[in-house]
């Protein structure tokens, strides 16, 4: 794939040197790792059989809270990301607005949901509200950036044609921009719903509500069979969401 043999061999050499350095500086307690194998086997064994019954009430409550959080943060995030995304599209906005919106997107997208959650918990107290805010902010960054990119990639001639009819700015958005970006954005919204559900399982670790808190409690109490049940429920819901969103996407196309 790389024509220049020097560059090719150089890259291999560089990779080898990096690998040696990385492995050399990685402080691995091999004794612990060796110990880890029987421990891992016990650990995995203690997951079976998954125990849905003894903690079912708190599992259900956690899962439902995660789902509410997912719904509301996806909706709020997308609604808020539309103006930011429009402002961050180079072919739509003016320079100062463009830079401001790009900065908002960069900051809200860089930090992992969990860091956002830590700060939201500090500011707004424990509970699902903090998780909801963290996920909404992350959604704005994700969705706003993709919306802006999609608008920048749209066919400029169609947009020009609507402008030439004397349409106002909002009419222009509605007739020229929206039909071009809508199908993809619906797909991405469903994808973000999926991501938000998965992330809602971890914001609980830092106190942001949802199934994560239940899961952490299960781990702390060494109730691994309950933890296994929770993980299976998460996997099942992710599969269900994926299947449904695939169906909706085909329907939209």
């Amino acid at each position: 794939m790389i024509a220049n043999p020097w560059l090719r061999h150089g890259l291999w050499l560089g990779a080898a040197v990096y690998l040696a350095l990385a492995l050399g500086t990685m402080d691995v307690n091999w004794g612990r790792v060796a110990e880890g194998f029987p421990r891992g086997r016990d650990f995995v064994a203690s997951f079976f059989p998954p125990d849905f019954t003894s903690r079912w009430d708190s599992i259900l409550e956690g899962i439902l809270e995660s789902l509410w959080m997912t719904v509301i943060s996806t909706v709020a995030g997308i609604v808020l990301s539309v103006p930011v995304g429009l402002g961050a599209a180079r072919n739509l906005s003016i320079k100062p607005v463009y830079y401001a919106c790009r900065a908002i997107l960069a900051v809200s997208r860089t930090f992992p949901e969990i860091i956002l959650a830590i700060f939201c918990v500090k500011l707004f107290g424990f509970g699902p509200f903090a998780g909801f805010l963290a996920l909404s902010i992350a959604t704005i960054g994700f969705y706003g950036k993709l919306l802006a990119e999609d608008i920048e990639d749209m066919d400029p001639v169609q947009a020009e044609a609507i402008k030439a009819t004397g349409a106002g700015w909002f009419q222009w958005l509605n007739y020229a921009v929206q039909p071009q970006v809508m199908p993809r954005m619906i797909g991405l919204g469903l994808y973000r719903f999926d991501i938000n559900f998965r992330e809602s399982a971890v914001v609980g670790i830092v106190g942001g509500g949802g199934i994560g808190a239940t899961l952490l409690t299960a781990f702390d109490r060494y109730e691994y069979s309950s933890a296994a049940a929770i993980l299976l429920v998460i996997i099942f819901i992710v599969m269900a969401v994926e299947y449904t969103s695939g169906y909706i996407r085909r329907w939209v196309q």
Binding site: D155, Q158, T165, G166, G168, Q171, Y175, P179
Partner: protein, 265 residues
């Protein structure tokens, strides 16, 4: 009716696309604008409805100075200039009807257009126009299901429903086969006659220009190098516009086709 005075367009890269164009188009005149690629044809008509901002110079439409208009004024002025595009420029995911009605966007308010509740008179006019171009049975099709010629007809309807007094036509036939090209050009010219519309038609097919336009303007590197009747295009003029080439075949064939066309009519 349309008067252009000393129009200059310099792009940010420093390229001068138009070097002081002055031009006047009277009511009802169909004018063809010919010239090689990069001569500034497309820039010129986009300057008229200010899809491209002119650098200096003035443009008047029926006495209104277009170059000095604010947002609202520009919006009202654009309604009176219908534009037809090379690649049809239909919004592909909207239906044919929505595309035609989008020509009325300059006349209706935002919410009406949002709910697609255009005045009944607009809808009837849209049906009349679609019938006129032979597409009334296609109203509910999505624009990307149509063929090239059909799309361009829808584009024409969209321009005409604006009830314009001037048509700006940018390479209407560049993406069409020769037969469809002629049908489309004939349609545009007939409609201009019916409605007494002035039109500026960018075209790089010299034969088509000679066949349909009553006046031809030749543009070369942002300057007008020919302005006159179509039969004044001889080898010398074409060389001035396009550069050295054996033009005899082009001119000869045009004459033959013109006669053929005349017989058919």
């Amino acid at each position: 009716m349309l008067r252009i005075e000393n129009l200059v367009k310099q792009y940010r890269t420093g390229d001068k696309a138009l070097k002081g164009i002055s031009l006047e188009v009277p009511v009802g005149q169909v004018m063809a604008l010919i010239g090689p690629s990069g001569a500034g044809k497309s820039t010129l008509i986009r300057c008229v409805n200010r899809l491209v901002e002119p650098s200096s110079g003035k443009i008047f439409l029926d006495g209104t100075e277009l170059t000095g208009l604010g947002i609202g004024g520009l919006r009202r002025a654009r309604r009176r200039m219908g534009m037809i595009f090379q690649e049809y420029a239909l919004v592909e995911r909207l239906s044919v009807m929505e595309n035609v009605l989008s020509g009325r966007l300059g006349y209706v308010g935002f919410w009406r257009s949002w709910w697609r509740r255009f005045p009944q008179s607009d809808v009837q006019e849209a049906f009349r126009l679609l019938e006129r171009v032979g597409l009334d049975h296609m109203a509910d099709k999505r624009a990307d299901e149509l063929s090239g010629g059909q799309r361009q007809r829808v584009g024409i309807c969209r321009a005409l429903i604006q009830n314009p007094s001037l048509l700006l036509v940018d390479e209407p036939t560049a993406s069409l086969d020769p037969k469809t090209s002629r049908q489309i050009m004939r349609l545009i010219c007939e409609l201009c006659d019916e409605r007494q519309l002035a039109a500026i038609i960018n075209i790089h097919d010299v034969q088509l220009a000679q066949m349909f336009a009553r006046r031809v303007v030749g543009l070369q590197l942002g300057e007008i190098v020919y302005d006159g009747p179509p039969d004044g295009l001889d080898a010398e003029v074409l060389t001035r516009i396009y550069g050295e080439e054996d033009w005899e075949a082009t001119i000869g064939k045009v004459d033959a086709e013109d006669e053929e066309n005349g017989e058919a009519a």
